[in-house]
């Protein structure tokens, strides 16, 4: 019998991260570990430091203290803020991906959908127009967009389609690690549901590791294996998603879970 791999290697090791914009604003003394193939959800109310943490993890903002160590291979560990900016940006461009809450932040609105999907490939040195186009059409199909619209500008797409395009653009280089900041924010529920379904399929198919920031517990329940609950810049509770949502221990988590509206 094939046994599941129980002890997955650590991909991202975060030690004592502090990034404060002012007292209580930002995140403080955070430790976390992300294993390969794992989806880690970070939940909490607005202003709890979720997005700051994500920016620090994603290499966009240097922490005041602490280290972010990326284990590229078993014997190849990179301290994200000790390596130079050139390597950090290359890592971000090639091995990692970032999906913004607002697709306008992640897409180039002035150029066509195909150019958006192809950009990361071109940054990698791909210089064959036919292949770039084929990759564009392939990825548009994978995120359930009509490949015939490859030459249309993203602004002619609906919000949900723009978000799909952003995901295609990020995944085209097959990153190992993807950061998502409220990927379903601003979408209506039926569009959300389809997007989540697609995301879940892609994450499983590609074996992605994901750090997912959301304030929506339903999204976290559907996608995340493990959850961190944040409040005022600190982690108040961590554990398996179902365990935390069904049996919250910390008072704040209990409040959060009981605040969910059910129709």
């Amino acid at each position: 019998m094939k046994r599941p791999e129980l002890d997955r290697p650590v991909l991202l090791d975060v030690q004592g991260i502090t990034r404060l914009y002012g007292p209580g604003k930002g995140c403080e003394e955070l430790d976390l570990r992300l294993h390969a193939g794992e989806v880690l959800g970070i939940v909490g109310e607005s202003g709890s430091g979720k997005s700051t943490l994500l920016r620090v993890l994603a290499g966009l903002e240097a922490p005041d203290a602490g280290r972010v160590v990326y284990h590229r291979a078993a014997d190849d560990a990179l301290d994200l803020y000790a390596i130079g900016e050139a390597r950090r940006r290359a890592l971000l461009r090639l091995e990692w991906g970032l999906v913004h809450q607002n697709p306008r932040d992640g897409l180039r609105m002035g150029v066509s959908a195909g150019a958006n999907v192809g950009e990361r490939l071109m940054a990698l040195g791909q210089r064959h127009y036919g292949q770039l186009r084929a990759a564009g059409q392939d990825w548009m199909t994978q995120v359930e967009l009509d490949p015939a619209r490859i030459d249309d500008a993203p602004r002619t797409f609906s919000g949900g389609m723009q978000q799909r395009l952003q995901i295609a653009r990020t995944l085209v280089t097959r990153p190992r690690l993807v950061f998502m900041d409220e990927p379903t924010g601003g979408l209506d529920v039926s569009v959300q549901a389809r997007l989540l379904d697609m995301l879940r399929t892609l994450v499983r198919q590609l074996g992605l590791s994901v750090v997912l920031v959301t304030h929506d517990l339903a999204v976290a329940r559907l996608l995340a294996h493990r959850l961190l609950v944040m409040r005022r810049g600190r982690v108040v509770e961590a554990g398996l998603t179902d365990q935390i949502l069904d049996d919250p221990q910390h008072a704040y988590t209990q409040l959060l879970v009981s605040s969910v509206l059910t129709p």
């Binding site: 180039r108 150029v111 066509s112 940054a123 127009y129 036919g130």
Partner: protein, 277 residues
């Protein structure tokens, strides 16, 4: 002469610009900032090129100024008159006899010689500007050689028009390192940048940047493997000199659809007509 220092600018300014030029020549294609001065003409009329010309001009030099290839257009005539007045240098319209050629939008058709310097007027020196509005970010992109986005523009051309439709200010890579805007010259002239005998200097007055291509430097135009770089071709030949090799301007001659194609480089055209006559 007329109460002005030789070539209008004061000696300290010229020295500062020459220092910047040395740096630009040392790092081909790299944009060097310089303390641009006010020139007695508006930005966009060639103030960057004029400051470079003023700082490299010597009393014995012969100056030629061209605008869109022509020696007799407003910009060319006024800049030439300016340097005649403030520097008292000899001017010419003959490409072969000039040491310093200030140009806007063209490279002369006649091959340049090693003792000549071509000075370009540049409106927007930053090739990445169209896709990245932040100066801080574009400098970082240059420093880290993040040039993938340049390809995005060309991709977009092919997607829209079926071929690379950029016809002027066509981006080039200089010496395998810096991506550079060759100023709004037609892409027809891009091959002349490659392994040129003459030194080429670029000055942007409004943006206060200058850059250079030293002689015998590798200059490649960006393209795709399956859509290689191509220059413009015409079915017609020049109506005046019959040239089939030069860059042609289409000139409307009446309001009944009459038109003719003529060389944009007037000196080249006149020389050929002299030879042919």
């Amino acid at each position: 002469m007329n109460g002005y220092n030789f070539a209008y600018l004061d000696e300290q300014t010229k020295r500062m610009i020459r220092r910047a030029l040395l740096k630009a020549v040392a790092i081909p294609g790299y944009q060097v900032p310089f303390g641009g001065r006010e020139m007695p003409m508006p930005y966009g009329w060639g103030t960057g090129g004029m400051q470079l010309t003023a700082s490299i001009l010597g009393a014995g030099d012969v100056l030629k100024v061209i605008d869109q290839g022509a020696d007799d257009t407003t910009n060319a005539v006024s800049i030439r008159a300016f340097f005649e007045r403030v520097a008292g240098v000899e001017t010419t319209t003959a490409t072969g006899t000039a040491n310093v050629i200030q140009t806007r939008h063209r490279i002369p058709e006649a091959p340049l010689a090693p003792d000549q310097i071509l000075v370009f007027q540049v409106p927007i020196p930053e090739p990445l500007r169209f896709i990245e509005p932040s100066e801080q970010e574009t400098r970082l992109m240059h420093a880290l050689e993040e040039y993938g986005v340049m390809q995005v523009k060309l991709y977009e051309d092919i997607a829209r028009y079926g071929h690379i439709a950029t016809t002027y200010a066509y981006p080039v890579k200089v010496d395998g390192r810096y991506v550079m805007d060759p100023s709004p010259i037609p892409k027809f002239d891009n091959p002349k940048l490659h392994q040129s005998d003459a030194l080429m200097l670029f000055g942007a007055g409004r943006e206060k940047r200058l850059y250079a291509i030293p002689p015998y430097t590798r200059v490649e135009s960006l393209d795709f493997e399956d859509h290689p770089f191509e220059i413009q071709r015409w079915d017609e030949s020049c109506a005046l000199c019959g040239s089939r090799e030069s860059f042609l301007d289409e000139v409307i001659t009446d309001d009944a659809g009459g038109r003719m194609f003529v060389c944009s480089d007037t000196d080249y055209c006149l020389t050929r007509r002299g030879e042919l006559a």
